[in-house]
Amino acid sequence: MKQTNFQTLFQPEKQDQEESPQPKPTDSLSERIITLLIRSSGYLSILFVSLICIFLLKEGMPALLNVPPASLFGMTWYPIEGYFGILPLILGSLLITVSAVFIAVIFGIATAVFMSEVAPNWINEILKPLVEILAGFPSVVLGFIGILALSPSLRILLNLPTGLTAFTGALLLGWAAIPTIVSVSEDALNSVPRSYREASLALGATPWQTIWGVTLQAARSGILTGVMLGIGRVIGETMTVMMVTGNAPVIPASLDALFMPVRTMTATIASEMGEVAKGSTHYQVLFLIGIILFLFSLIINTVVFVISSRRLSHSDRLLS
């Protein structure tokens, strides 16, 4: 990718620096102030990530001193009695994330392939805005739909004691993560050069074989980026899971756990932070859970960054 910014414009090749015309120097005071403001705004992202890190640590780390490790890594979350076992919450989040991402990946990639490789234009004109609408659904609206429509029908359909289960949450979150996966994967598929497809078709492959053998392979890293972003979205989802998963902090031990109530890290923070005294042990543990969530998202997004910047340099090499 060619960088077309001022840096390339203002700093020509070293050797012809003497002859090349210099831009008018930024002389006026107001212009210098504006430039300074712009430059410092550029670094805001770093400032805010550091601030978030500092304040989470400041409020959450004392929990490690105040709660004995045996309680913290225990199996029981019952804060009123002093049981701060965060394991059930982490496992609850993982259970929902894995099953939701499973759904989102299958349907998301299928939809993206359908939109970019199969569907005629007029169908895309309908599909695209609908997927964007889904992306814009606030998570409380999804939770509301879960409570009113999805969970009663699941309860009857699967003959469960309650419809507020991990599965209900996974279905809704998986569905909500689909737009993320679709839009990133579709971009990746569209940026595969035409010549790849033409070469494959010219060798006698059917369009179907070309999709699986060539296009998807070439777009692999972009699709992986979309999937990672989808995982990040699901693991951080709060309101939907709080409303539809039943909020029972139990260890999901077997496969049926998917059809029983669970509680995630995010829902625990959201439902309990309002009632705790500031600075209490319970408060600190909730921040500690926030730190764990922050670390998860840090890992996921750093992987996203590495994949997508590697993809850029890779395609630079291919297309140059």
Partner: protein, 285 residues
């Protein structure tokens, strides 16, 4: 003898499966939209939109929630647009290709991916407690602004980068300074793209509940907020309250609230789409 599964048949079957998958994804969206409009419209009345809730929110309107979301969205816009657009200008026009810029981009990717409830914790720690803004519109909208920032920065940067290089070259060669070029040429040219990004970022902020739960949203207010330091009701939190926290809530009010919230958010979505397609049609380069 050829097998039944010829490549052509496989392809047909495959395309049909993909089409069904796409249909399964989008059908519920249509069904939900139709259902919410059908069930919510009867609840909508001038009274519902313009009066305070009473009798434990089981009667009356949702005016404070609507106003609260408008206040929060406006304040978020105020706090996030100037630094967001400035950061985008920096990244697109000034930033050298070095490890600091790389660090900014890593930070931005991470900022965009932090769970909304963690933003809520951060806002509680920094704005509510440390800076002593209390649970207020100010704390909540500052929290939402930081969450919105990465969306605005990345879309605005793309819009600015899309302006062809020769616009810059010509402007500089006519004697304009760097800021004059940005201010007079590049910003006007990239404005539709920047506005689209801003609307999409604010749309997300308007629909969020988790970041404002402990920073500024409140269950119920007997009066409208008077200043930035007052807590406020908000549509998404109100929907959460009426659908889970109040027993014996009339379904009509629940659907009415969903409809108003969806209308608010989808109007923003639609206007972003309109601005984008208009700009595309009008573009000269």
């Amino acid at each position: 003898m050829t097998s039944f599964f010829t490549p052509q048949r496989k392809q047909q079957a495959g395309f049909i499966v993909l089409g069904i998958a796409a249909l399964v994804v989008v059908m519920p969206i249509i069904v939900i939209l139709i259902y919410v409009i059908q069930a919510g419209l009867p609840a909508l009345s001038w009274e519902f939109l313009s009066t305070m809730p009473h009798n434990g929110m089981r009667e009356g309107g949702i005016l404070p929630a609507i106003l609260g979301t408008i206040y929060l969205t406006l304040c978020t816009a105020l706090f996030s647009i100037p630094p967001g657009v400035a950061a985008a200008i920096y990244l697109a026009e000034y930033a050298p290709d070095n490890s600091w810029t790389r660090a900014i981009r890593i930070a931005m990717t991470n900022l965009a991916g932090i769970p909304s409830v963690v933003y809520g914790l951060f806002g509680l720690g920094l704005f509510v407690i440390f800076l002593q803004f209390g649970t207020s519109i100010l704390s909540a909208s500052l929290t939402l602004s930081i969450m919105t920032l990465p969306v605005i920065i990345s879309t605005a940067e793309q819009a600015i980068r899309a302006v062809p290089t020769h616009f810059r070259t010509v402007s500089i060669s006519l004697g304009a300074s760097r800021w004059e070029t940005i201010h007079r040429i590049i910003l006007p040219e990239s404005m539709p793209g920047i506005i689209t990004g801003i609307i999409l970022g604010l749309e997300r902020a308007a629909g969020e509940t988790a970041p404002i739960l402990f920073t500024g949203a409140t269950f119920f207010l007997p009066r409208l907020p008077h200043s930035l330091m007052d807590p406020t009701m908000a549509l998404p939190y109100h929907l959460f309250v009426v659908s889970t926290q109040v027993p014996g809530m009339p379904v009509k009010i629940q659907y009415g609230t969903v409809l108003v919230l969806l209308a608010f958010v989808l109007t923003m979505n639609l206007s972003a789409a309109v601005i984008r397609s208009r700009a595309r049609a009008r573009r000269k380069w």
